[in-house]
């Protein structure tokens, strides 16, 4: 059987989710954002909740998420997505409400909003993209930047004595009583993509069971900011990010 015969709707096993539109994404080649967007679209399609889902986009590379996923979106001020999402969910409790935030947004400027939305047990989902860097503004140091890691504002490598330690938000948030689920995943291999999808789906389901806030941290790459190829970025992430930001569930109140 040749390729032309196989390429037939009857044999289809994977195609782009219909929740994702055809607008080309502005992300750099190999960017983890695209995979996570795709997973969100797939989950929303599979759960059939396109009309019940409201996303809150951050400031950062994810700011344009609304262009790619055909759901209703609000774009929040830098770091304020959890406050925006809080109000949406409180006023529309039967909707699935999630924030989509990077580490600059969630772990730096929006720490207060993040901690308090989690502490209040808001029934929302945090999609937290942690690539240890400010991607959109050009690769500056973030609170999550690894010790010794180079960035444009730590060109000789992050010096913990001067610039402090890497902030592990998931480890911090798991201790809050309002949080039901904290997990750390990645999207660099087939297996990890599938695990992340299951994690996000679980978080969405929990949000409708009034169990409190769910945090799905996705340790990600930023090949432009890290100055590496996408494939090398994945290897670097495994070797350097994973020892600091270990994969797996940190909390799951079933």
């Amino acid at each position: 059987m040749n390729v032309k015969d196989i390429i037939n709707p009857a044999n289809l096993v994977y195609e782009k989710t219909t929740v994702m539109n055809d607008t080309p994404m502005h992300y750099c080649p190999g960017c983890s954002h695209g995979v996570v967007h795709k997973l969100l679209g797939e989950i929303i399609q599979e759960m059939d909740i396109q009309d019940k889902t409201i996303g809150v986009a951050p400031v950062g590379c994810g700011v344009f998420a609304y262009k790619y996923l055909d759901i209703d979106w609000q774009q929040a001020a830098h770091g304020r997505a959890p406050a925006v999402a809080t109000a949406i969910k409180r006023l529309l409790p039967d909707r699935y409400v999630f924030t989509y935030q990077g580490d600059g947004d969630l772990a730096a400027i929006g720490t207060a909003e993040t901690i308090h939305a989690c502490s209040r047990g808001e029934n929302i989902v945090f999609i937290y993209i942690n690539n240890g860097i400010y991607g959109m503004t050009g690769g500056q140091m973030a609170p999550t930047t690894l010790p010794g890691m180079k960035s444009t504002t730590s060109p000789k490598g992050r010096d913990e004595k001067l610039e402090g330690h890497s902030l592990d938000m998931s480890k911090l948030l798991m201790h809050l009583d309002g949080v039901c689920y904290v997990t750390r995943q990645s999207v660099h291999t087939v297996a990890s993509v599938r695990k992340t999808k299951r994690a996000i789906r679980k978080a969405f389901e929990y949000s409708m069971m009034n169990k409190g806030a769910s945090v799905v941290e996705i340790v990600s790459t930023c090949s432009s900011g890290w100055r590496m190829s996408p494939a090398d970025s994945n290897t670097w992430m495994e070797e350097h990010m994973f020892p600091v930001y270990a994969m797996g569930d940190l909390k799951d109140i079933e």
């Binding site: 019940k52 609304y66 055909d70 209703d72 609000q74 774009q75 001020a77 109000a87 409180r90 006023l91």
Partner: protein
Amino acid sequence: MSRKSDEVTLMKGNEAIAHAAVRCGCDGYFGYPITPQSEILETLMEIEPWKTTGMVVLQAESEVASINMVYGAAGCGKKSMTTSSSPGVSLMQEGISYMAGAELPGVIVNVMRGGPGLGTIQPSQADYFQATKGGGHGDYRMPVLAPASVQEMADFTVLAFDLAFKYLTPAMILADGIIGQMMEKVVLPPFTPRRSEEEIRRECPWATLGKTQDRNPNYISSLELRSEEMEKINLRLQKRYREIEKNEVRYEEIQCEDADFIFVAFGTMARVCQKAVEIAREEGLKVGLIRPITLFPYPYNRIAELSEKVKGFISVEMSAGQMVEDVRLAVSGKVPVEFYGRMGGIVPSPEEVLNALKTKLL
């Protein structure tokens, strides 16, 4: 809650805002305690509107969070509001600018206290510039209502929502600590039910209530990186502000018909100046008062008209002189425009302001 709408009650200005919000069908209140306006949040927590109208009331972790909660609620087409006092309103400026940019309706109440910095908890009017000239970044304005009584605290809560939704803009009630704290008779607005989701979908087709099959996704954003498009958005906003200026100017005149000299004052200072007008008239001095009710849009035209027939104006404010700049713009040098103000939470007496008028204008 079963009170009839024409029933007269006695309450604080802050309490009147809380009751009026519930009655006018407000969907969400998000606030953070700060003197001298904490009674608004306290009253709402006491009357528990979530049990009656379903209105959401939430004490946020900061004013920054409060205004962004208003943003989120407004993005869903919901009637939402926050209240604070000067330092807290400074923290909200980012959110107000975002709301203006994203064309979101919502109500912000500033029960002003003295600054700068942490300042004092005593009353002030020193946030006039911040409120009327766009306290946050970017070219924006918003309707600013200046209540001078507890009754107006209630009435303007309703009016501010109307203006906010009519022009898709944040709207501010700029009160001061005295109007917030003092007790007066008030007739609360009648109960209006909260809008149903169907009504919101009809009236606010842009609201993020979930993308249905029959429409494209809605998104709320103030971001536009293409310069030509961003200028278009700005031009649309400016056009709207010109509409507001054309349609929404509100002011009150007291004994201006035959006046030689006119006080210009808003809020608490208008009440003090009204008493000063009485004293002046008893002394045979033809003094009047114009009280701007909307600080944006400002009654420039009316003050310009009055400047044709009076000998002078004096702007009286609890500040170092902010509104006086708008009075001068309106008068445009035709007659003298003087200023008298006190700061630090001091409220000048009627005798004091009349004396200032006499000293500076006679």
